[in-house]
Amino acid sequence: MKKILNRVLIYFNKKTIVFHILGTILWIWVLSLAAMLVWGISISLMDGFEYSLDPMKLLPDIKNIKISNYLKAFTSVEYTIQGSKVTFLKMILNTVWYAFGVTLLRIIATTLAAYCVSKVKFKGRLVIYYIVLFQMLLPSYGSDVSYLLIIRKVGIYDTPGMLLANFAGHGSWFLLMYGCFKGVSDSYGEAAKIDGANEFTVFFRIMLPFAKGMITAMLILLLISTWNDYQTPLLHLPSYPTLSTGLFRYKTIAGYTLDVPIYFAGLLITSLPVVIVFIIFNKTLMENMTIGGLKA
């Protein structure tokens, strides 16, 4: 006890009062967030009737905890759209192929393009770099409409072919990967080439391992963002609702008949995989995320 008290005193002596005030504000901030999340979990364990009687209730009755809500989410959360039934399992399946497909294709395209522009010496590579930079920095506000018209014309609108529209090597990830490869000394590749290695060998066997940390960070963040993405699938894949778009639509369709606890159980199931991924790779993410001039 004395040891803990000493540590607390040392801690408080080290920091100024302003620091304590800022720390307290942050604590209030995160506790309010935690309260909402805990309340969400609590609702998901309540009986539907119990919740409707008292939506202010913070915790479910201990004797009446409904873990079964999580199982019911798999069977109850479903709706029909344009004559086709959308089940919770279908939403999971759509989310898996969409999130993994988009992530994988983007990583392949971005890593290849960034390596090629940063390390392979050929005429015009700087031009490519500036094209990507220009494309990224050019504000393009009406593109929701024109992009929709283009994908309709190409024939991939509302089909799994939409994955092709994500086989893109540009954007902010290109710049991060570019910075990452730039930071690797040229001498490794040159030594390998003297030993007879070609560009493919240098890329796959020498350069890729150097970019492992950045690729992992990219994999996790892209996976999380596409898993949670609701605007793009809602607009481009209306017949393939993912968990995010499906649950959003389900609430609108269900209206007042919505069983809130089961719905919240469904929402929590949606977030469970990304939370697990985040917990496992938290450190990798923190170590690899930097933007704007510093080494990526």
Binding site: Y11, K15, T16, V18, F19, L22, G23, W29, V30, L33, M36, L37, W39, I43, M56, L58, I108, L112, A113, C116, I128, L138, P139, Y141, G142, S143, D144, V145, S146, Y147, L149, I150, A165, F167, A168, G169, H170, N198, E199, N228, Q231, L235, S244, T245, V260, F264, L267, L268, T270, S271, V274, V275, F278, L285, M286, T290, I291, G292, L294, K295
Partner: protein
């Protein structure tokens, strides 16, 4: 042998750049061209400025969807700008290992990790007239908050949500930048008796200046871009439109008659944001410079 290496190199370049170029041409460039051509083509197929006039006309009238959208967009933009220094300060406090810093860091980041739909739905239930937040604010703290919050006060509520939930979104970048500051620099500063305030303003900010300017630049590029949570909360009802959401909604609802106006509006917004970005960059370069370390 040399010829084979050269062929391999060319093959590699083609393979590596094919996805980038094909995507740029098929999806980006063609959609830009399509957008520009539709914005300048009238219903009769002839060249016109009509769609631009219509879009500007909708702006100038009082209380139209677009004039409201413009005001809301500016509010979101200012909030986004304000969130950059706020989140930087929060990241610094956590970086300096405030009590429970690991927990704070995870909790701040969690909302940007879990599903946005989940967070929005949770918030909606949380702030209902008979929900726990309003009960706490009105009955425990006696604040007398008027309800329901997502109708007349829709934009203010969504902005509050954006600030409350979105603060942690910047944290990984600030942390990444701060973690690269050499420990020696901070140790010497500490030995010289520099307090946290001077350390923050005179050491941390100059050393992470490139990250700071990049964040501001992205905010400036996205000056008219706020649209995210409106779809989840109100779908534009209760005067919660923003310019970007108005365009998204035209595409989402398939309102083909609005496409040319939306595209003209998009071009106007893009044109207006370019000088803002250039001015912002000039301003930031004037007040700070990148320090190599």
């Amino acid at each position: 042998m040399k010829k084979k290496i050269q062929i391999d190199k060319i093959l590699f370049i083609i393979m590596a750049l094919f996805p980038l170029f094909s995507h740029l041409l098929v999806f980006w460039l063609s959609s830009q061209i399509k957008g520009i051509s539709m914005a300048f083509t009238g219903s009769d197929g002839a060249f016109t400025w009509g769609w631009f006039r219509q879009a500007l006309g909708m702006f100038s009238k009082e209380a139209t969807d677009l004039s409201i959208a413009f005001k809301n967009t500016m509010c979101y933009f200012l909030l986004g700008l304000a969130m950059i220094p706020i989140s930087l300060m929060a990241a610094y406090v956590v970086y300096k290992k405030v009590f429970g810093s690991k927990f704070i860091r995870v909790m701040l980041m969690l909302p940007s990790i879990v599903s946005a739909v989940m967070m929005a739905m949770l918030f909606q239930q949380f702030i209902m007239s008979n929900g726990p937040m309003i009960h706490f604010l009105n009955n425990v703290l006696n604040l007398n908050i008027p309800t329901p919050l997502l109708t007349e006060r829709g934009t203010a509520t969504i902005m509050f949500y954006g600030l409350w939930i979105g603060l942690g979104g910047h944290i990984p970048l600030w942390f990444g930048a701060m973690s690269r500051i050499p420990d020696d620099v901070l140790d010497y500063a500490s030995l010289d008796g520099i307090g946290p305030f001077r350390e923050f303003f005179q050491i941390i900010i100059p050393l992470i200046w490139p990250t700071f300017t990049t964040q501001i630049t992205f905010s400036l590029i996205n000056v008219f871009g706020a649209s995210g949570s409106i779809l989840l909360f109100t779908e534009g009802k209760y005067n919660t439109w923003t310019l970007s959401y108005w365009i998204y909604n035209a595409a989402y609802k398939g309102r083909a008659n609005l496409y040319p106006i939306a595209l003209a509006l998009g071009l106007l917004m893009s044109a207006a944001s370019v000088p803002i970005v250039i001015l912002g960059r000039w301003f930031m370069n004037k007040f700070g410079e990148e320090i190599q370390y």
